[in-house]
Symmetry: none
Subunit: 410 residues, 2 copies
């Protein structure tokens, strides 16, 4: 069954509010075997009717978000009912729920809220436990000589109201109306150390030959490979991906790189410290975004000043003078110093020239050294050059550092 | 002129990637007096053509994002050219730029990248300084008997490539093709310490009374107030905003909070250190995102473990035992210890319970203490509670800490 989503709301088109509905709805529908074929954002007002007519001509399920509030620009309820030729009536039960909600909050009800208790008799009420606007479900119905209308769901705009309503009320209705379907599934592989075209070169043809749908999504320092197809084909695809991509394969389950690193450390009962110059705290920030990181992440040193490198990490001032703060020697000394100071099994260090200033002929802007010291002995240092603006430079350096540790632990 | 946006990408409709383009484009177009009338997301493939035909029938400007990469699912270039009846030719200059990019990175170019150097002679190249895929601009042209085609822009999918290309290449083209329009200007005020409704309560009515268009945009810990109108009205509005919002007003020029803090420190010739427990490096990361931060930011301590707090910041172990690591006493000792260890004028410290685990009745999940130690003597400690998931908790805490310092320095 084809699903389309209509997001209504002038604030979305003005950029005041980021639309997160599409992502939520897509992820919630996927386990039912449903995919969103098209999504459109239209402003509040009559154009909703046009978007509905277009979607209804193509889709069996139409989800409409927004425009159920009490103010004059909230017209979705009226427009959809009119399009289906249905009459709105006052629903005492909805009004009771709204009044009870206001009473619980000791808030004064506005006459405008009366509008939210209007609904056609033919629509099913989707109760809203997190706001005043109930949702509505319109089952397919004959529409003056045309084909049957699609399943239409009206959902509130605020995500904290829409999400529980969708999970609690919409998914059960969809599960009932869906026809039995052939099994198909989604696999997502996260890859580091290769670009999008590098990944496609290695696995693109054999995966397409399996009849799978293949998609790529590149971000700084990583690529997601997405496969859709039958379970048997996906199992064969996984074997191909694992063989061809080797250590470049970060996860088969969509976990983020920092989560993989924390999981690997946790499984090994090992600990980590980081010493960051050019990444300025980003590696520590990413690692501590992972719930449970405190079990393995002991300490971070953001040693921007040379003094700080000497004081906190015992990097000899003479070493900095001789080789420069951005050098393989200093990177190694930072990693070893952090490991010793924090008493951890592993330590990562970064030192580089993020720019825009600070480059030289021998070490141009974008040059970075990444070191990994471990309890196993020798310290690894990598030299890279990332010619990007400051934030992407930091992202790529943090990504490469975390991936260096992942490869060591895997 | 009517603008429509077509976002292409199966990953958007599967929910793997959150679509942030609409918000960025809306905000970037706004100062030109342009608003997005409709936005649609379609999967990779031939349906792009259908969406283009629909948009072209309604709009004078069509922005298409995504599908310019080197892989087989990237078809936007081909589809739009075919729709306009234009022939693709190999562009030596684009290929040179792609090859130079790969050479700079010492990466091997793939034969697939050849596709990215294809373009119709009639299209203007929008150079991409942050990726391989150039954008393309198709000026209006006759299309076999129909009306003229709209201005069509093809832009790359990754935000870090799209944003600079839009600012550097698309906005100047739009500025040239737009008809002259009445002079009006945009003012953006960044506000901390008040919610959206708090800001509206203070300044909403007097600003509307000036006949200005007033917009609000709330993010964790800050609100942007956007005013559009004539220069005279905006000057009067600024006086109202400055008076009513007082110290809550962070900037009148859109600078980010961390940039304001770095600028204030630079102007005063003062230095900063940070000691982070629950923010895990985020404050250091934000500060070091600002070019030139190295002049004022000396050192960061990410002291996740209690041991690290004692070792790196000289927080007495007895103090942690007595009051707990999440306490006003420990926060103050962390800030004072960081200031002493790094030898800076100011030091910020955070310690809190990000969750999901670790809360208690006296200190529930979300409790956080933020301390500021300065050379001026007494150390300030604030207690807050942020009941949000981990990342938003970290964002709010970092935001409040930086704002505490800003108010002290301003």
């Amino acid at each position: 069954m084809r699903v389309e989503v209509i997001n209504t709301g002038t604030e979305l088109l003005l950029g005041n509010v980021l639309n997160t509905h599409l992502q939520f709805l897509a992820e919630a529908l996927f386990p039912l075997g449903l995919r969103i074929a098209r999504q459109v954002t239209v402003p509040d007002g009559e154009v909703i009717c046009e978007a509905l007519a277009e979607a209804a001509a193509r889709a069996e399920i139409v989800l409409i978000t927004g425009g159920l509030g009490p103010t004059t620009d909230d017209l979705t309820r009226e427009i959809v009912s009119a399009w289906l030729g249905l009459e709105l009536v006052h629903d005492r039960e909805i009004m009771d729920a709204i009044e009870a909600r206001f009473a619980r909050r000791a808030m004064r009800i506005s006459p405008r809220n009366q509008r939210q208790a209007q609904r056609p008799r033919e629509a099913v009420v989707l109760w809203n436990h997190h706001g005043t606007a109930p949702g509505l479900y319109f089952p397919p119905m004959e529409k003056s000589g045309r084909e049957k209308s699609p399943h239409i769901f009206l959902l509130p705009g605020p995500p904290r109201e829409l999400k529980p309503m969708f999970t609690d009320s919409v998914l059960p209705i969809l599960a009932k109306v869906l026809p039995p379907r052939p099994a198909f599934a989604l696999s997502t592989f996260r890859i580091a150390g290769l670009g999008e075209s590098g990944v496609e070169e290695l696995v693109g043809e054999p995966l397409l030959a399996l009849g799978l749908e293949v998609g790529y999504c590149a971000r700084p320092g990583e690529v997601d490979l997405r496969l859709i197809g039958g379970a048997g084909e996906l199992a064969r695809a996984e074997a191909i991906v694992v063989e061809k991509l080797g250590a470049n394969l970060v996860t088969r389950d969509g976990r983020e790189l920092e989560k993989v690193v924390v999981d690997l450390l946790t499984a090994r009962g090992e600990t980590l410290a980081v010493a960051e110059s050019c990444t300025g705290g980003l590696i520590a920030h990413r690692v501590t975004n992972v719930p449970g990181a405190s079990a393995v992440f002991m300490q971070g040193f953001v040693t921007y000043a040379n003094d700080a490198k000497t004081r906190a990490l015992a990097v000899p001032a003479a070493l900095i003078r001789e080789h420069g703060a951005v050098s393989a020697e200093v990177a190694a000394a930072m990693a070893e110093g952090a490991r010793a100071a924090a008493g951890t099994d592993h330590a990562l260090a970064t030192t580089g020239i993020a720019g825009p200033g600070g480059g030289s002929a021998a070490k141009p802007v974008g040059t970075v050294f990444i070191a990994l010291a471990t309890k196993l002995g020798s310290t690894t240092v990598e030299r890279h050059r990332y010619q990007h603006e400051r934030k992407t430079f930091k992202n790529l350096t943090a990504q490469t550092a975390l991936d260096l540790l992942r490869r060591r632990l895997a």
